[in-house]
Amino acid sequence: MNFDDTLQEAEFRATARAWIAANAPKQYEEELRKSSLGRTQLKNANILEVAKAWQKKKADAGWACLHWPKEYGGRGSSPIERVIWQQEEGPFGQLSRMFIIGHGMCGPTMMAFAREEHKRAYLPPLASGEKVWCQLFSEPAGGSDVAGLRTRAEKDGDDWVINGQKIWTSGAHYSDYGILLTRTDPTVPKHKGLTMFFLDMKSPGVEVRPIKQASGASDFNEVYFTNVRIPDHQRLGEVGDGWNVSLTTLMNERSAIGAAVSTGFPELFEYCSSLMLDDGPAIEDRAVRAKLASWAAKASGLKYTSMRAISALSKGERPGPENSIGKLVAGSMIQDVATYALDLQGAAGVISGAEDSELAGRFQAMLLRAPGTRVEGGTDEIMRNIIAERVLGLPGDIRVDKDVPFNRILTKGRG
C-alpha cells in the first residue's frame, strides 16, 4: 500500500508537470482554484474561449484526450497516466468541464459504433476542442426513465427525419455536433424501438433554447427538432439497437474517475478556520466541530474511495458502479454544507450578491445550485437503485411497462 509513482509514472508526471508549468494560462489559476459549485465563470474573460485555447494547446502538444488512440487525436496513454495528468493539471482541469460530455461520452460512442472514415474525420477536432459535442438523450416526458423517450426518427430515402424535443442538454448552445437517441418503432416494447445517430447541430430544423435554472443560471438547454434530416450513414449501431448503444455511452461515465466530486467541505473548513462567531472562533465551537468532523470523515472517505478506484484502474481492473456513491454522497452533502455555512453567517447569510455578501456569495451560490446535483446525471434514487442492483445484486424494481408496446404504456397519472 503506497502512494508512490512507479519509475515510469514518475517520469510521465515530471514531463506533464513541466509542460503545464510552461504552458498553462496562469493568469486564471487563482480564480479557477476558487471556483465552486454554482460559481464557475471567469470575471474578465469568456471561459469558453479560454477553455478552447487551452484544449487546442494541449492537443497540439499531444496532451488532449490522453487515453484515446493517437490516430483519433489522443496520446494512447494508460488510464493511470490520465489520472496523473488530471492531478497535475489541477485547477486548469476546471477548463475541461465543457468538454466532458464530448470526450467522456460522445467520443467513446463514436469510437465503438461510427464508420472508420467518420472516426478519422470527427474525433481529432473533438479531442482538440475545436468542435464541441453534446448528448441528446433526455426528454421532458422521460426523466429518470430515459428509455421512455418520444423523439421520432422516420426513414425517408437515405435519410432519417427527426421530430421531437430533448431537454437537459449541457452546452447545446455552443455545440457543433451531438449524439441523438430516437424512437424508430413505437409498436415494440420501449427498450427495443430505439436508434442512435450523430448529427450536425447546425442542421436546419434544430433549435436550441436555454433553460433558466432554479439558481437563475443557464447551464442546460432544450433542443427542438422539426423535420431535421440525418443521413443514414450517421447512424450509430443497428436500427432498434439504440438502447444498447446508449448503455455504452453511459458506461463511459466511469471514465470520469479521479475527477473529484464537489462536497463543499474544503470550502467550509477553510471558512470556519477563520470565522469569528459572537463568542469566539467558529473552529473552537463544539457544535461547529461536531458538524465539521462528520463531514470531514465523509469527504476523506470519498477521496480515498476514489484513490482505490484509481488503483484498481491502474491494475487494469474495471471500476464498478461503486462510484455512484461519490455522486450520491456529495449531492446531498454539498446542500447541507451550504445550508450550514449560511447558518453560521446568521441573518446576513441571506445576502447573496457578490459585492455585499460573505466570500462574494460563494456559499449562497452553492446553496442555490445544489438541488441540481441531486438530480443531474441520475437522481439520488436512481443511484441507490444502481448500487442495490449492480453491486449488491438485489432485484430490479417491478416493471409494469416491460413487455408492453411503447405506444400503449400509461402516460398520464390522475384524470
Binding site: S138, P140, A141, G142, G143, S144, D145, G148, I167, W168, I211, K212, Q213, A214, S215, G216, L277, D278, A287, Q335, T339, L342, D343, L344, Q345, G346, A347, A348, G349, V350, I351, S352, G353, D356, E358, G361, Q364, L367, L368, P371, G372, R374, V375, E376, T379, D380, E381, R384, D397, R399, V400, D401, V404, I409, L410, T411, K412, G413, R414
Partner: protein, 375 residues
C-alpha cells in the same frame, strides 16, 4: 381542552386562502421575483382592505381588534401563497414592537398607518454577520441622533419607518441597548438594496447619519423589548413556514400522482412515497409546535420563550426539508426557473436566517428549558 383554532378562526383562514389564491397566484409572485416590482402593491392594498394587516391591532389604533390567533392563521396562508409583500417585517416585527413598547401617540400614528396599508415598517437590528445579541450592536444613539449601519434590513428599501436597535451605553449589559423609531422618509438615511436569496422579499443596507429618531420604550429597555418581539415573530414566522411546508408537500404529492415514469405514477415508487411521508411528518411536527406557540403567544403565557424557540426550530427544519425534497420529487423539472419549486426553496432558506439562524434558536431553546426547570 381545545388545542385547535376555533371555527371562526378557521373561517378566517379559508377566507384568507381564497383571497390569496385569487390575488396572489404564482404569476404574481414571479412578477416580484423577476424584478418587475419591489413588492406586490396591489396585493398589499388588498390585504389592508381585507383587514389582514391590522388583524391583531386593537380597534382604537385602526385594527380589527382580533388577536394573535387570527394573525397566525393569516400568517399560515401568507406562507402557503409565498406572498411577495413586506408582511412579516411590518406586521410581526414593527407592529409588535409598537404594541409592546409604543406610546399612545406612537401607536396612533404608526399602527393606524400599518393597518390601513399606508406605512410599511421594519426592524433594523442586524449589523452584518451574526445572530441577535446586544454585543453586535454598534450603531449609536445620542441626543436623539442615530449614527451607524444596519444590514440586512428586511424590506428596508420599501419601508416607511423602522424600529432601530441602538447602543446607548457601554456597560456590556443588555441595558446598553435602546430602541428608536425612525421615519425613513425624513432624511438622514441612505438605503441600498442588497441582492438576496429570495428576491420576493427585499433586503437592504441602511446607513444612518445624524438621523433624527424618537425613543421607543424606555431607555435601556431595548433588548428586553426586542427579545419579546423576536419570540412573537418566531411564532408568526413559524406559521408562514408551516404554510410553505404544506404547499411544498402538496406540490410534490401532486407531481408524484401526475407524473409517469417506467409506466407507473412515480408516487408508486417507495423512494418517492417515503420521501413524501417524511415531509408530511416534519410538516406535522412543525404545525403542532406552532400551535403550542400560538397558544402561548395568544395567552401571553410564561411558556412563550420556550414554545417560540421550539416552533421556530421545528418550522425552519420542516420548511427547508419540504422545499428541498419537493424539488427532488420533481426531478430535473423542479430545478427549472419555470417550475415554482425554487420559489419555496428560496423562501425557506431565507426565512431560516431572518430572525437568527437555526443554531442560534437551538441554543436559545436549551437555555429557556433550563430556566424553566430551574424555576
Amino acid at each position: 381542552m381545545n388545542f385547535d383554532f376555533s371555527d371562526d378562526q378557521k373561517q378566517l383562514r379559508d377566507q384568507a386562502r381564497k383571497f390569496l389564491t385569487e390575488k396572489c397566484p404564482p404569476k404574481a409572485v414571479r412578477a416580484v421575483l423577476d424584478g418587475k416590482a419591489p413588492y406586490d402593491k396591489d396585493l398589499w392594498k388588498g390585504l389592508a382592505e381585507m383587514g389582514f394587516l391590522g388583524v391583531a391591532i386593537p380597534e382604537e389604533f385602526g385594527g380589527a381588534g382580533a388577536g394573535h390567533l387570527e394573525l397566525c392563521v393569516i400568517a399560515e396562508e401568507m406562507g402557503r401563497a409565498n406572498a411577495p409583500v413586506p408582511f412579516s417585517s411590518t406586521v410581526y416585527l414593527a407592529a409588535e414592537a409598537l404594541l409592546i413598547a409604543g406610546s399612545d401617540a406612537q401607536k396612533k400614528k404608526w399602527l393606524l398607518a400599518i393597518a390601513s396599508g399606508e406605512a410599511i415598517g421594519t426592524l433594523a437590528l442586524f449589523e452584518g454577520k451574526g445572530n441577535p445579541s446586544p454585543k453586535t450592536i454598534k450603531l449609536t444613539a445620542a441626543n436623539g441622533m442615530l449614527n451607524g449601519v444596519k444590514k440586512p434590513v428586511a424590506d428596508g428599501a420599501i419601508a416607511d419607518f423602522a424600529v432601530v436597535a441602538a447602543r446607548t451605553g457601554s456597560s456590556g449589559r443588555d441595558g446598553d441597548i435602546s430602541l428608536f423609531i425612525v421615519d425613513l422618509r425624513a432624511g438622514g438615511v441612505e438605503v441600498k438594496s442588497l441582492t438576496n436569496l429570495d428576491p420576493t422579499r427585499g433586503q437592504a443596507e441602511i446607513t444612518f447619519r445624524d438621523c433624527k429618531a424618537e425613543p421607543l420604550g424606555a431607555a435601556g429597555e431595548g433588548w428586553s423589548i426586542l427579545t419579546q418581539v423576536l419570540d412573537r415573530a418566531a411564532v408568526l414566522c413559524a406559521f408562514e413556514q408551516v404554510g410553505g411546508s404544506d404547499r411544498a408537500l402538496e406540490m410534490g404529492r401532486d407531481y408524484a400522482l401526475d407524473r409517469i415514469a417506467f409506466g407507473r405514477q412515480i408516487g408508486s415508487f417507495q423512494a418517492v412515497k417515503h420521501m413524501l411521508a417524511d415531509m408530511y411528518v416534519s410538516a406535522t411536527l412543525a404545525r403542532s409546535n406552532s400551535y403550542y406557540g400560538a397558544w402561548a403567544l395568544s395567552t401571553n403565557a410564561a411558556e412563550l420563550p420556550e414554545a417560540a424557540a421550539a416552533a421556530r426550530i421545528s418550522a425552519t427544519q420542516a420548511f427547508q426539508h419540504c422545499a428541498k425534497n419537493n424539488i427532488q420529487v420533481h426531478g430535473g423539472m423542479g430545478f427549472t426557473w419555470e417550475f415554482d419549486c425554487h420559489m419555496y426553496y428560496r423562501r425557506a432558506n431565507a426565512m431560516a436566517l431572518g430572525l437568527g439562524s437555526l443554531s442560534y434558536w437551538e441554543d436559545q431553546l436549551i437555555d429557556r428549558m433550563r430556566k424553566k426547570n430551574a424555576a
